[in-house]
């Protein structure tokens, strides 16, 4: 009895440790978060990084920090899904996502350069990479 209980607990722990949101679940969470993130991006409070993540451009409140953290966690999970399917490294998928994010950004949105500076997309000479 004790052994069976132990096995059940270990199985549950293993299941929890390996719990990875499905792509459909991720899609739904991205969809729900999108209006808030767009409002923050339009206001110039957050921007895209070269690592395929979101980051605050200047100081943001706790609620914005929370939503950034949730978005980045879900993006990381998505990059793992796509990496598995394409045989790429998740870091490579993240870089490709950054290229896409920069390409899709609106002219007023902020993008972080590799040296850490934030610039608006419209200020970049030659446009975003991958846009040609």
């Amino acid at each position: 009895m004790r052994k069976a209980l132990m096995i059940a607990l270990l199985s549950l722990a293993g299941f929890e440790a390996n719990a990875q949101p499905t792509e459909e679940a991720l899609k739904e969470r991205f969809r729900q978060r999108l209006p808030q993130l767009q409002a923050l991006e339009d206001a110039g409070k957050i921007g895209e990084t070269t690592e395929g993540t979101l980051a605050p451009v200047a100081g943001v409140d706790a609620a914005a920090q929370q939503i950034i953290a949730e978005e980045n966690a879900d993006r990381a999970a998505l990059y793992v899904h796509i990496a598995k399917r394409t045989g790429e490294d998740p870091r490579e998928v993240a870089v490709q996502a950054a290229i896409r994010n920069y390409r899709e950004a609106k002219p007023d949105h902020y993008l972080r350069l590799q040296d850490g500076r934030w610039v608006q997309k419209k200020a970049l000479k030659g446009g975003a990479p991958g846009s040609s």
């Binding site: 609106k106 590799q114 970049l124 975003a128």
Partner: protein
């Protein structure tokens, strides 16, 4: 040795032809440049677009972004 001013006009003409031929045969060797200037975009040092991954990302985010895409996006 006979001084050149005492050469016959035929000999002088022959010498001029030989000198002209020597100049005509000389050539200049140009060395091709070993370095090329490459324009580096301001965001990424190297940009390697992975078409397959881009397609996967597009398919995924098209479903997410489609209802809320706004005018002016992606310009």
């Amino acid at each position: 040795m006979i001084p050149f001013w005492n050469y016959s006009s035929r000999t002088l003409a022959a010498l001029l032809v030989v000198a002209a031929a020597a100049f005509a045969c000389s050539h200049k060797v140009e060395v091709a440049p070993t370095h090329h200037t490459i324009e580096i975009k301001p965001i990424f040092l190297t940009v390697d677009v992975n078409i397959r991954v881009q397609k996967e990302l597009d398919q995924f985010f098209d479903d997410v972004e489609k209802p809320s895409k706004k005018e002016g996006e992606g310009t």
